[in-house]
């Protein structure tokens, strides 16, 4: 039986939910992955093979059913250059390994995210606005003006503004194009309702205070992707 790898903090609600729904799960945090995980990635431009190791478990690529990647831990601070270098190298290696996995990875993030998450979020929001022909907001609107919508695998979760649901229904391929171009399968989109301007995109929404109905909608869909 193949294993679903859940890379998330122990209290991550989506990882907890998905962990209960998939047949076999293996959990670790991003920090454990980077500092103690084992990886082997061999490629020649035609074939790719490899294996991941977490704790005492080793998983050849073909035995990984899917990966839920939800990095939320604080990034380590390195006082010494060597520590920063090793962290940089580990990230570059795991970025390539997770990207190379033949299974579903939610979300499958390119080097830009690992290098500069904040700038990558800007890029995701720019691309979302461009693909869906929506205005882009670069200022910080008042929190009460901002509405959030959760997109998952070409669809919008319940609770999204009605106009956004209509807009996506009128442009059915646009969200899919954005997801294909960015590797993002699940994200929270923050939008100013009045002007329909895209404020931000978070590819790793915390969901800690999300309504149970939202988690109940997203969780099974993610589990189906990863099982």
């Amino acid at each position: 039986m193949r294993t679903t790898l859940l890379i998330a903090e122990p209290d991550d609600p989506l990882a907890q939910h998905v962990g209960r729904l998939v047949p076999r799960a293996l959990r670790c945090t991003q920090r454990e992955l980077l500092e103690r995980g084992r990886l082997s990635l061999q490629q020649d431009g035609v074939q790719v093979r490899g294996a991941l190791g977490i704790g005492t478990t080793s998983l050849p690529f073909e035995s990984v059913a899917g990966v839920l990647y939800r990095p939320h831990g604080a990034p380590p601070r390195h006082r010494k250059k060597l520590g920063a270098f090793v962290h940089h190298e580990r990230q570059a290696a795991w970025c390539a390994a997770l990207y190379a996995l033949p299974c579903a990875v939610v979300n499958r993030m390119p080097p830009g995210w690992w290098l500069d998450p904040e700038l990558h979020r800007c890029w995701l929001a720019d691309r979302f606005a461009l693909e869906l022909a929506l205005p882009r907001r670069h200022d910080a609107p008042a929190p009460m003006e901002v509405r959030s919508a959760y997109v998952i695998e070409g669809d919008v979760a319940p609770g999204a503004p009605a106009w956004l649901r209509r807009h996506l229904a009128a442009n059915p391929a646009a969200l899919g194009r954005w997801q294909e171009a960015t590797g993002v399968r699940i994200a929270r989109i923050d939008i100013v309702g009045r002007t329909q301007g895209v404020v931000a995109v978070d590819p790793f929404p915390a969901l800690r205070e999300a309504a149970p109905a939202l988690l109940a909608h997203i969780g099974p869909r993610v589990a189906r992707l990863l099982a």
Binding site: V46, Q91, A93, G112, L115, L119
Partner: protein
């Protein structure tokens, strides 16, 4: 108007700026070695750069970026990072042409990731193992007949080295940090510098670049076209592609550098790459813009 972003002291930028000035092209500069001098504002329609000689009123059609990471002190570095953050946000969002736009120039942060992109573009890449498992290294070395190079995985500068018995005696140390191991390829080193739909070929000889015109014809045309195509497909205008030409005529690509220090691959007398880049910038200098300096 062309905007040049980077450090005044960068010799690559210096050469481009001299060439633009010789052509009397209207030019503005942001000197990243003086990060506190600038501020960037967005009013909902336009990005305005103010400070130094920038007054936030002249439209910019093309922006050339070569970020500088040299900062004298920690405080300077903080100011530089703040400026870089503001600049990159603007450079991502602007309708102006950017050479090269941030976020699309990050693939070489992870060399094995980039190798996949290069292979997908139809370029041959070497057989590579990235691992922190000592036994995997031994298996790879045996499969390669013992001739293996090793180097870093990320964009941090590391010097590729041939793996020796001395290294193998300490191979357990890879458990602390993943390393990239690559098949050794016999042949001659070349750099293909792509600028838009043109390229310049140079050959590496003992650490120096042979920029002679004869070298231009050393690589097959379809290989050069693939180099141009993969640069364009990556969303880049300029790139430096390092490859090795085997004696059987096939080429193996090692990496694509999105910010090449190309002055080492042209001569003062014949600055061909600078010429291509300056012509590209001048060709687009009248396009529409939402950046004002």
């Amino acid at each position: 108007m062309i905007l040049v972003v980077g450090a005044h002291a960068d010799p690559v930028l210096g050469r481009i700026v001299s060439a633009l000035e010789q052509n009397a092209v209207p030019l503005a500069r942001i000197d990243e070695h003086n990060p506190r001098a600038y501020r960037i504002e967005y009013d909902g329609h336009h990005w305005r750069v103010r400070g130094d000689a920038c007054q936030g009123c002249r439209p910019v059609a093309v922006i050339l970026v070569r970020h500088s990471i040299q900062a004298a002190t920690r405080a300077d570095r903080g100011a530089w990072l703040d400026l870089k953050r503001a600049l990159d946000t603007m450079l991502l969002a602007t309708r102006s042409r950017v050479v090269n736009r941030p976020a699309v120039d990050t693939d070489n942060y992870s060399k094995p990731y980039q190798a996949r992109q290069l292979a997908a573009a139809g370029l041959r890449v070497p057989s590579t193992l990235v691992t922190n498992i000592p036994d995997e290294v031994l298996r790879f070395v045996a499969a390669q007949g013992g001739r293996v190079l090793f180097k870093g995985v990320s964009d941090r500068t590391t010097v590729p080295q041939m793996l020796t018995l001395d290294h193998l005696a300490r191979i357990d140390s890879v458990a602390g940090c993943p390393v990239q191991f690559q098949e050794f390829i016999e042949g001659d080193d070349y750099r293909v510098t792509v600028v838009d739909d043109s390229c310049v070929v140079t050959r590496g000889v003992g650490g120096e670049a042979d920029c002679s015109s004869a070298v231009q014809k050393a690589l097959p045309g379809d290989l050069l076209q693939r180099c141009i195509a993969c640069t364009r497909d990556a969303g880049l205008v300029i790139s430096g592609i390092d490859l090795r030409l085997r004696h059987d005529g096939t080429a193996c690509v090692f990496e694509l550098n999105p910010c090449p220090a190309f002055i080492h691959h042209e001569t003062d007398k014949h600055p061909r790459i600078t010429g291509l880049l300056v012509r590209y910038l001048m060709r687009h200098r009248h396009e529409g813009s939402d950046v004002l300096v």
